[in-house]
């Protein structure tokens, strides 16, 4: 009797591979930091050890400051992102549906798109009376463009025959938008919303450089200024996890909203 054990691609194996990858990365980090590796063009002399980072995180978690830091950041990212989602999807649908609006709206947007969040800081401080509003604005600029461009792409990609057919069946312009254009562009919009969520967090540290007191981005930047190096990495990792988690939430919610998109042909 021969027993064939298929070890290819079992879920356990794939989970194992991911786990090993994380352990290797942590191990390499520990090694270069312990030996204070200096390669001339890069030095790990001041890079904190993984263990120090964990200690720093536990200290932060046991203190009273973690919650206000988190909630300030979440609030800013959430508001900036929400505004970007509304503006990006609305503008994207308009631009995708009308060549005239495209010619009118796209040039200024294309010009603004390559400007990095950090370049907006001075003007944001000058434009918005409250620093809170300027921070929200900066997370907004980060999320807007991926959402906008994906929405345009999705709307332009809709099969024109579907639109012709829906019109023949008596669809009004509003029904055409709700029943054909928006669902047709939905998978691309979901992609845009998910990427936008990530880029919104991406801009957080930049935004919170303006902040006076609270926020994970502020905490990270402040830790650098006062030379609490392990805390810098705590801030970075927190942002990484929050960004990853919220992107995942957006993607999962989006996939739930577009069930037809994941069907396999079954005939």
């Amino acid at each position: 009797m021969s027993v064939i054990i298929k070890i290819n691609n079992t879920p356990q194996l794939r989970w194992g591979a991911s786990l090993i990858s994380v352990i290797i990365c942590l191990g390499l980090w520990h090694l270069v930091a312990v030996f204070k590796l200096k390669l001339g063009f890069i030095t790990f002399e001041y890079v904190p050890l993984p263990g120090e980072v964990v200690t720093a995180f536990l200290k932060l978690a046991n203190g009273e400051k973690l919650l206000p830091h988190l909630s300030s950041s979440l609030q800013r990212v959430f508001l900036g992102y929400l505004l970007a989602a509304v503006a990006g999807v609305t503008l994207g649908i308009l631009i995708g549906r009308s060549k005239l609006l495209q010619s009118f709206l796209l040039p200024p947007l294309e010009l603004l798109r390559p400007i990095p969040a950090v370049a907006w800081i001075p003007l944001a401080i000058l434009m918005f009376p409250s620093s809170e509003a300027s921070m929200i604005f900066i997370t907004f600029t980060g999320a807007l463009f991926p959402i906008l461009l994906n929405t345009i792409h999705g709307v332009e990609g809709i099969d024109q025959r579907l639109i012709a057919s829906a019109k023949s069946l008596g669809a009004s312009p509003v029904a055409l938008l709700n029943d054909v254009v928006i669902p047709g562009a939905a998978p691309a919009i979901v992609t845009g919303l998910s990427i936008g969520m990530g880029t919104s967090w991406f801009c957080l540290v930049t935004a919170e450089m303006i902040s006076g007191q609270w926020g994970i981005g502020y905490y990270t930047w402040e830790s650098f200024l006062v030379q609490r190096y392990p805390d810098i990495v705590v801030g970075m990792v927190l942002i990484g996890f929050l960004g990853m988690g919220s992107s995942w939430l957006v993607r999962t919610a989006g996939n739930r909203a577009t069930p037809w998109y994941f069907l396999r042909r079954s005939y």
Partner: protein, 268 residues
């Protein structure tokens, strides 16, 4: 509704349609004439690229045309639900289940869901797809998708049904089934049908009248009445009258041998 229901009449004269832009602009149809009686099933038969689909697109109201283009004595100015359109490849909304696709035009008219679903069940039974209400279009085969498409168009009681090679993408057996299904539905729900095809057998099997079109720019070069008895079945295909008409069609279509133009889809 059935009390006042009268299938459409068509009156086309001196119609010309230009497609494309700039240097790619060309005349697809020129000096086109056609009249169709109420309740008639006509087939437009012609070589690929002759402008059959273009005429259909104009009748549906999706293309701008010059000349006289009357349906029920009214100029066609845009798409309308009483002129149903079926393409070669289905245009079901992938994000709506079968029942919501079939009920789409009723929803547009504001028919409440309960009433809508009753009609949907009736139409799905008519096309032989009872029980598929909750399926997604992508879960169906090509033939089933076209049946759903047909049910979706028929639910609005179109007075004119415009069909653009609707069975052209199906395999031969499935195509024969669909032709029989179409005739059986047409006998229960009389409507005027303009059926575009380049399949001679299909045209003879279905039509009251076959209109042969020339190559581009398309005009009608012959009007062939098909006096085969109804209801028709597959045995008809070997009858002498069928063969006679087929020979005639072949002769007309082959007079410029093999000069097929690329197929041009007016709605892209």
């Amino acid at each position: 509704m059935s009390g006042t229901f009268i299938p459409s009449t068509i009156d086309i004269d001196n119609l010309s349609i230009t497609l494309g832009t700039g240097s790619a602009r060309f005349t697809a149809v020129q000096d086109f004439r056609l009249s169709v009686n109420s309740g008639e099933l006509i087939c437009l038969l012609g070589p690929s690229g002759c402008g059959k689909s273009t005429v259909l697109g104009a009748l549906a109201g999706h293309l701008h045309a010059k000349g006289k283009l009357l349906v029920d004595g009214q100029m066609v100015s845009g798409p309308a639900p009483d002129r149903g359109l079926v393409f070669q490849h289905h245009t079901l909304l992938p994000w709506r289940r079968v029942e919501d696709n079939v009920g789409f035009s009723l929803k547009m008219r504001g028919v409440p869901r309960k009433k809508r679903n009753e009609e949907v069940r009736r139409l799905l039974a008519l096309v032989g797809l009872s029980g598929f209400e909750k399926h997604w279009p992508s879960q169906l085969s090509g033939g089933m998708q076209q049946r759903v498409e047909l049910a979706r168009v028929l639910i609005g009681h179109p007075r004119l049904l415009l069909m653009d090679e609707p069975f052209g993408a199906l395999d031969a057996l499935c195509r024969v089934d669909m032709q029989a299904l179409l005739l059986s539905i047409w006998s229960k729900l009389p409507t005027t049908i303009v059926f575009v095809t380049h399949d001679i057998d299909e045209a003879i099997f279905l039509a009251d009248r076959i209109l042969i079109m020339s190559e581009r720019p398309g005009r009608i070069i012959e009007d062939i009445p098909v006096h085969l008895p109804r209801p028709r079945d597959s045995e008809l295909v070997t009858s002498p009258e069928f063969i006679r008409i087929k020979r005639h069609c072949l002769a007309l279509l082959n007079h410029k041998n093999g000069q097929e133009l690329p197929r041009l889809s007016p709605i892209t």
